[in-house]
Symmetry: C2
Subunit: 666 residues, 2 copies
């Protein structure tokens, strides 16, 4: 029997009823963190956040991959809209003109974005421009539309990349879906690590693609002019022609399908600060170069496809047919063909990578403005917005799975989002010109106004033509998402205001006149001893032990032991608990203690900490359940007093005594 000494008296040799605390830095890293270090590389410090500056050639490679890569499927998508209805007429009369109209839209877009770059040299994405000029709500629409589009860019680009692969090597066709998912995972992993040398990685495939495409167009056109253009026989020997009637609706459908070529044009305006000084000037020049490349390639590919009459089929892309035809069948032609396909595949995968840079940043803008979960603003292990990267990878995997990596099924969802954000961004620029009236604002207003009207018309055409093919989903999704984000924002704002409400007075709140400490006791053991030691440190007005008696026999036994201990300063309170719902019983005890609003209650729960994960599994988590229940009660302050098992050496005598007490009795 032990009698407690006076807690006020200074003890001479403190006995710790558990292991000693570790020294600074003496706690090993968690296994999950060590794994993270291995998979993602060493952690980066916040001050290592830096911006790479890009020269024009590299910048073109980095920012243009998304836009240029869409030429890999844009002409084909126009044909897919026209050929089934009007057959060869699509090639002879309409493919090139429709491409021409789209290139005209591109020209308007390029000139519009030159204005944006001038006005927003630090970051001129649609979200910022719209927020700045039209307000937060339209900015949410522009942002959500763009985010949707980034998700689809990943899905479309990776799927088109797989199409480039299996057009060259048909063996891969059955594996396109898992391979597409694999590529998404690899790109996400690279971005989680932080793609440092992004410039170099981008330059090779982008320039390989540009060069090979120009080569294809030049060789194809030259050969065609000299020897005439040989048409490619359709896969089944003939093509089925539908009505054969050319209607406005049909041409608009072709136009809407080709609109996907315009995605990615906004990339440069988002990334102006990454250019070498003078940023705006370099960015505008790069934008022009990109526009020229994109327009020329798009027209050239459409021209050759029209001349060759390349019919779209399931397992080969139109662009691969064109390349095969342009370079001819010899060994050199074959080698170049495979090179073109490889370059196409790589630039498409890179285009997906662009979304992985843009989506997390845009999502962090939303989150900074409290329109998306705060977690999206958090920089991870390698200073990238990890949560945004993971969210994008998961979101992009869904359409790939749903549509089995089929580009044609994904395209109708695509482009409507990007043209919505173009429209809002250009409208924002127009408003800005009117508001600020800077020098040359009239020209600017004309350019951006034309851009806004054009893109609005394109948006409406795409929405109308592709409505039943999947655009309806985006048209519903965007407003629903915006409504959700507004709700989220309201919640965040309410919290923010509530948290600082009258905070100066709150900080000065005097302490409550009474402090009561309840020590939860299950048994007379070392964790209990530890909790009592800590409880006595608090010098509360009242300290007592509480046992929630789910097992009446055990409770009686405990009461007897407690009496033997002679713990007069810490009386034991046994609370009957016939329904075994100890959480409810504890809530009642604590609420009773708190009644009158003048008491602060500390509930000390001894918590056993185990050395190994599986040891913990062998016990029910009573301490956690109690703490969770008490979290509902204001002024109930729960302390988990840890007791670390596995630190005491057990002597042989103790073991013998224990086993003797366990022998079965007859």
């Amino acid at each position: 029997m032990t009698v407690i000494d006076d807690p006020q008296a200074a003890p001479t040799t403190p006995v710790v009823p558990g292991p000693l605390p570790p020294s600074v830095g003496g706690i090993p890293e968690a296994r999950s963190y060590r794994l993270k270090q291995k998979v993602l590389g060493p952690a980066l410090h916040t001050d290592q956040l830096e911006h790479q500056r890009l020269g024009k050639p590299t910048a073109l490679a980095v920012f243009a991959s998304d836009a240029l890569s869409s030429t890999a499927y844009a002409s084909e998508e126009i044909l897919r809209a026209l050929v089934p209805a009007i057959g060869f007429l699509a090639f002879t009369a309409f493919l090139v003109p429709i491409t021409g109209v789209l290139v005209a839209v591109l020209v308007i877009l390029v000139f519009s974005y030159r204005q944006t770059i001038k006005a927003y040299p630090s970051a001129g994405g649609a979200y910022i421009v719209t927020k700045d000029n039209l307000g937060l709500l339209p900015a949410q629409v522009a942002g959500v539309a763009l985010l949707t589009d980034y998700i689809l860019t990943v899905a479309v680009s990776v799927s088109a990349g797989m199409a480039a692969l299996y057009s060259a090597v048909p063996f891969f066709y059955p594996y396109r879906v898992p391979m597409a998912l694999g590529f998404i995972a690899v790109i996400a992993w690279g971005n989680l690590r932080g793609v440092k040398e992004s410039g170099r990685i981008f330059a090779v495939p982008t320039y390989a693609f540009i060069v090979s495409m120009f080569l294809m167009i030049i060789v194809g056109v030259t050969r065609g002019v000299m020897n005439g253009f040989a048409t490619i026989p359709p896969p089944d020997g003939h093509i089925a022609i539908g009505t054969g009637v050319v209607t406005i609706v049909l041409l608009l459908k072709g136009f809407a399908s080709g609109g996907a070529a315009m995605t990615g044009v906004e990339a440069i305006s988002n990334g102006v600060p990454a250019f070498k000084k003078p940023e705006a000037k370099h960015a505008r020049q790069t934008l022009m170069i990109m526009g020229v490349c994109l327009g020329t390639l798009f027209l050239g590919i459409s021209f050759l496809a029209a001349k060759y009459q390349a019919v779209p089929s399931e397992k080969t892309t139109v662009i691969s047919e064109v390349a095969r035809q342009a370079f001819g069948g010899g060994p050199v032609g074959h080698a170049i063909f495979f090179f073109v396909q490889a370059a196409t595949m790589l630039i498409l995968v890179l285009a997906a990578n662009t979304s992985f840079a843009d989506f997390p940043r845009l999502a962090s803008f939303h989150a900074d403005d409290a329109f998306m979960p705060k977690q999206l603003t958090k920089r991870g292990h390698r200073l990238v917005f990890s949560n945004g990267i993971i969210a994008l990878a998961v979101a992009a995997a869904i359409p790939v799975l749903l549509f089995q990596a089929d580009v044609s099924h994904l395209i109708p969802l695509y482009a409507i989002g990007v043209f919505t954000s173009f429209t809002l961004s250009q409208a924002g620029m127009s408003v800005r010109h009117v508001k600020l009236k800077e020098p040359g604002w009239r020209l600017g207003l004309f350019v951006n106004g034309l851009g806004a009207v054009t893109t609005l018309v394109v948006t409406l055409v795409i929405g109308w033509m592709k409505f039943s093919h999947g655009a309806w989903f985006i048209i519903i999704l965007v407003p629903v998402m915006v409504a959700l984000l507004m709700r989220l924002n309201k919640q965040y704002e309410h919290e923010a205001v509530e948290l600082i409400h009258d905070v100066d007075d709150a900080i000065g709140t005097p302490v409550l006149p009474r402090h009561s400490v309840l020590v939860m006791v299950g048994d007379v053991d070392r964790p209990t001893a530890r909790a009592i030691q800590y409880a006595r440190t608090m010098h509360a007005d009242e300290t007592r032990a509480v046992h929630l008696a789910a097992d009446p026999e055990h409770a009686l036994d405990l009461a007897r032991k407690w009496e033997q201990l002679g713990l007069t300063r810490v009386p034991l309170d046994i609370v009957d608990c016939p329904d075994r719902r100890i959480e409810r019983a504890l809530l009642d005890v604590v609420c009773e203690e708190l009644s009158g609003d003048r008491t602060e209650v500390s509930v000390l729960i001894p918590k056993r900490e185990y050395k190994h994960f599986w040891h913990r599994l062998l016990h029910d988590q009573t301490s956690r359940k109690l703490a969770k229940a008490l979290a509902q009660v204001p002024h109930a302050n729960v302390t988990l007093v840890p007791y670390h098992l596995g630190s005491i050496h057990i002597s042989d005598e103790e073991w013998e005594a224990f086993h003797a007490s366990k022998q079965p009795h007859h």
Copy 2:
């Protein structure tokens, strides 16, 4: 600017910087609990735990369903072993003799268990008997073998029940697996609710089965004797005969296959206390009746199957063929046939139910002896061992899924476990007779010795004959499981000894000479105010606020605000955290504070409590992460100081001020 008053002075009107505490009983029940109430019925109090006493007829129904139901498939399994090898010879020469040998084993078992009932009138299951006489390790083997068998009883019985169903109504054949899983779920649910009226539920199907089986045998034999036994044409018009050679191994295979009929014989000895007084006498009489019924039915069914030459097939059971033949084809015969099938299905489902009563109880015995997780000893909402019930349902669903509810594939796994536990239990009884030498011990030793040897031989035969068909899995599983349980026991024992090591001294441990309180601060807001109010309640030797600065700008801002507050008693300590790993930074702070083993550290973490689940999702769980990291450190006592959001009304002026501060700046 607010200056804190003297915390020692009694405050007159305490201001609470959060909502007021609720009154006793004022906290609503959790949604999960309300759902539980609906699904499982109102909670039962511990004192409502009572034992039903059963009369002999009801007891026979409750305890015999498992054993009797196995006659529904035992004869068929013997035929499945013989017919493919020796064709019609199986019917004409071997089915009835093999059944006869098995019935002889049954007789030995019944007499052996009469001894067990006499010796263990309170509970004579294999686990208890083996533990009592052979020790804890053999008891684990017996227990694990039986537990495995209970799992398989559920799988086999439910699958055989489905076979009875689709033999009568072939429409159900394709749905047998989901229906079997559905039955397991329903039985588990019924047992979680606590099957109160078990006696009544059992009586009807069990007696319906007994009566219909006897009726079938009497009608079948009478008709056969009068008009001769008409054989059933085999499904394909003929049966393929293998080697046609009769070997010892072949007959042993047939014997091993029929051994499944013996499962469930031990049920009565487990449940003696449930009988009306005098319990042992009634139990022994019921055992005899059950033995006679089981033997007669088994022999009768085998006899008719042999006479009718009922060839086993995939979609109809042998017993359904026998019933169809015995009752003839008229409308009355058809009606009786469906009745027989219904009774067969019901008794098989009930047999599964028996396992749901036995498995959780046996698992709780293991857990009581610290050989299985403690959670298995916990009585749930309705006073049943809920965790055991759920574990059994999940475990039984696996073989049903794996073998697509095919009885023949499950049988080889079955029976070996039950015969292992028979052997150990009978060996235990033999040892007991030798040790105690009670009156009549010589006869007892003979009976139980014969039982032990017989069951050992049967165990070896089954293990040998069925080894390659699946018994190998059980032969590996049981020792592996036993080894695991031994490891578990060692862990539990070590914990138990460590927890009470030197506990009297530990309880008297004096308080540590220094108490330091660290208040984790993220911002100057109401949760921080609340944590500081609580911190000052503690009257510690040192109290300071700690900010882990992952964002240096925010930290500077906080430091400025803190200075303005004039909180001189609670200085702010800003800890640089350039790697954004605030858990590690906090660990270092706390370990530094603890150094010297003479300090008790209280870490107060303000924790926002949200009204709705989704509100919480909008924030990262920093407080939880910090608490989890600190759980590794002895003498670091973490208190989560709750702040409950959603209680403060925000005035319009406050909203305006907030929005004004949020306007974008040009």
